[in-house]
């Protein structure tokens, strides 16, 4: 979601699917993460429009309070008066009106040109109550194809709908996550652990499936392994000792020469003074070596 869309491509879209009461925690987690990336300028998107149906706007203001920058985040209130009983102009039944409001707010946040904004919809269930599935699908797909939308995500309570609605929303997304409790009978009691599954439709046409364990608490969810790891036989994580050992490895061109100029013997008899020098700039100190660059990522079907 953070990396957003490429030129001429539909914006990535995430469906957070749940059938247990903790899907909303996942939504809030994604929301806070994405907004912190936006505020730090680390994402393609320059602003976020939150379309709130199931919680009041003040809830989100509270949630995002740390570091909230009103300039970057707009909350479209579809909670207080969704059917326009008090205010005739507001009516969520009309998806094209909703679409226009979202786009207007988004453009207001980021201006014009090549800037992009993200959209978060806290509940497509509420949207589906008042509008037909095809108009909801139209809204979501039009947002995805809008060239100023960077990414979009929404929460769906799949047990509240016919199977077709969930199928439609999965069809429209490029990523689907679902949360599975460790033991179904524990739903009533304090649910502790669960599994978080992700299905990602990659650009090259393959589907990546990942899962991770999560801890579910009243305050929210936390991921046990930071960073989703695909299921492989090898251990890709480093233990603390391994991390320290690696940090202690002296790389060939980095050792400081202990104050003396570095001399690299290149096989010639004499080294002219000030002859050779190797200047080594490390790309980035916080980029992990062997980063997970997939050469197939630019294969775009």
């Amino acid at each position: 979601l953070r990396d957003g869309a490429l030129e001429g491509e539909h914006a990535p879209a995430l469906t957070i699917k749940d059938s247990i009461p903790f899907g909303f925690h996942v939504f809030c987690h994604v929301l806070s993460q994405l907004s912190s990336f936006i505020l730090a300028g680390k994402s393609q998107s320059g602003g976020l429009v939150v379309v709130s149906f199931s919680r009041s706007p003040s809830f989100y203001l509270e949630l995002l309070k740390k570091g909230i920058d009103v300039v970057s985040i707009q909350i479209l209130d579809c909670y207080s008066d969704p059917l326009g009983w008090k205010d005739r102009l507001k009516d969520v039944k009309h998806m094209d009106k909703l679409y226009n409001s979202i786009v207007e707010r988004g453009k207001g946040l980021i201006g014009g040109g090549k800037n992009r904004f993200s959209v978060a919809i806290d509940s497509v269930d509420e949207m589906s109550r008042h509008a037909s599935t095809s108009s909801v699908a139209g809204l979501l797909s039009n947002l995805r194809s809008h060239d100023q939308v960077s990414s979009i995500f929404w929460l769906l309570h799949s047990d509240l709908h016919e199977a077709r609605v969930a199928a439609v929303l999965e069809y429209l997304s490029s990523m689907v996550t679902s949360l599975e409790p460790e033991n179904l009978s524990l739903i009533e009691h304090n649910l502790k652990k669960g599994k978080f599954h992700v299905r990602i439709k990659r650009r090259n046409g393959r589907v990546r499936v990942m899962s991770e364990e999560v801890h579910i608490e009243q305050s929210g969810i936390s991921f046990i392994n930071q960073g989703l790891v695909p299921k492989v036989q090898f251990s890709l994580e480093l233990s603390e000792k391994e991390r320290i050992d690696r940090a202690n490895v002296v790389l060939p061109f980095e050792h400081q020469g202990n104050g003396k100029p570095i001399q690299i013997y290149d096989g010639r008899r004499s080294l002219a003074d000030g002859g050779g020098e190797i200047i080594y700039f490390r790309d980035s100190d916080d980029e992990m070596p062997d980063s997970d660059e997939d050469p197939d990522d630019d294969l775009d079907i």
Partner: protein
């Protein structure tokens, strides 16, 4: 008709080849899609790959049965329509290979050759029906020689954002009417649709409507079992299944050597369909090399699978 997989865009590869092939051989195209501006898709149509040898391609049916690494358009036509364009236009061989990295030249995409329709906002199918009828009326089937042919490509016909997408009987009616119009003209039509969004009974009805029925399937990434079972797994992007092949005016059935193919993009440029090969079984495990295992990733078994 092509059954899409909601998790992969492989039907677009097939559409692109189909559309480019027609345009390159002077067959005007009617293209409909749920996008607001379908013309945008035309920019992704591939150009014919540079042919490696200059020999003229003989349309020997026996020779073509050996063609596995090519888009077998023959499945769409009856035998009678196969040779009509072969030797007339000396400039182009009947091209099966397209280079996905090279876009089709602009002059092929002029408005005379390509007509685009957006089906998202139509409340019903009458507009699309009229456009198709008008298009097909230009290619009536006479008893004489075939002077010109046309192609219709409809992408994601039952996509959920289309306003008519919950009118299942209407969509079925449209397909039936299109089929009858196509039968009486010099034209072929390709429709892709996502079966997961239709009710099961309608999905079956649609499948029966098709003369030729294909399905595409996504392939899971980094799946250790599949990589052990299939050779060349790393290069595959998906699977193609042939469920039905058009047999019109004949009672001779088609018996294909294989109905499941892997979809690969050779050098990321050329669409290649290959029969699935099972990787050699490790002798120490005890099973013999000859035993057949399930090497198809698809759960749909066609009528011709045995």
């Amino acid at each position: 008709m092509v059954m899409e997989d909601a998790e992969a865009p492989h039907h677009m590869l097939l559409l692109r080849n189909f559309m480019s092939q027609g345009l390159v051989h002077n067959q005007p195209l009617l293209y409909a899609s749920p996008a607001i501006d379908p013309r945008g898709f035309l920019g992704t149509l591939p150009s014919p790959a540079a042919s490696k040898d200059e020999k003229s391609h003989k349309h020997d049916p026996d020779q073509e049965k050996g063609l596995r690494i090519a888009w077998q358009y023959k499945k769409y036509f009856g035998e009678s329509q196969l040779n009509f364009d072969g030797q007339r236009d000396g400039k182009h061989e009947y091209s099966n290979e397209f280079d996905l990295r090279k876009p089709l030249e602009r002059h092929f995409l002029s408005a005379q050759r390509v007509d685009c329709v957006s089906i998202q906002d139509s409340p019903n199918l009458s507009a699309l029906q009229d456009r198709s009828a008008t298009f097909l009326s230009q290619y009536p089937r006479n008893d004489g020689s075939i002077s010109c042919a046309g192609r219709i490509a409809i992408q994601s016909f039952s996509a959920p954002q289309c306003a008519y997408s919950n009118m299942e009987w209407d969509m079925l009616s449209f397909i039936r009417s299109l089929k009858s119009m196509v039968r009486s003209s010099n034209a072929v039509a390709l429709i892709t649709f996502p079966p997961s969004l239709l009710s099961p009974s309608f999905c079956k009805r649609w499948q029966h409507m098709a003369d030729t029925l294909l399905s595409v399937k996504a392939i899971p990434d980094e799946d250790k079992e599949l990589s052990q079972l299939l050779t060349g797994y790393q290069d595959m992007v998906g699977f193609l299944n042939v469920h039905k092949v058009a047999r019109i005016n004949t009672q001779v059935p088609v018996i294909l050597d294989a109905t499941t193919f892997s979809i690969k993009l050779q050098k990321r440029r050329f669409l290649v369909l290959e029969c699935l090969n099972q990787a050699p079984v490790d002798g120490s495990s005890g099973t013999s090399y000859g035993t057949s295992g399930s090497c198809s990733g698809s759960s749909k078994t066609g009528n011709l699978d045995f």
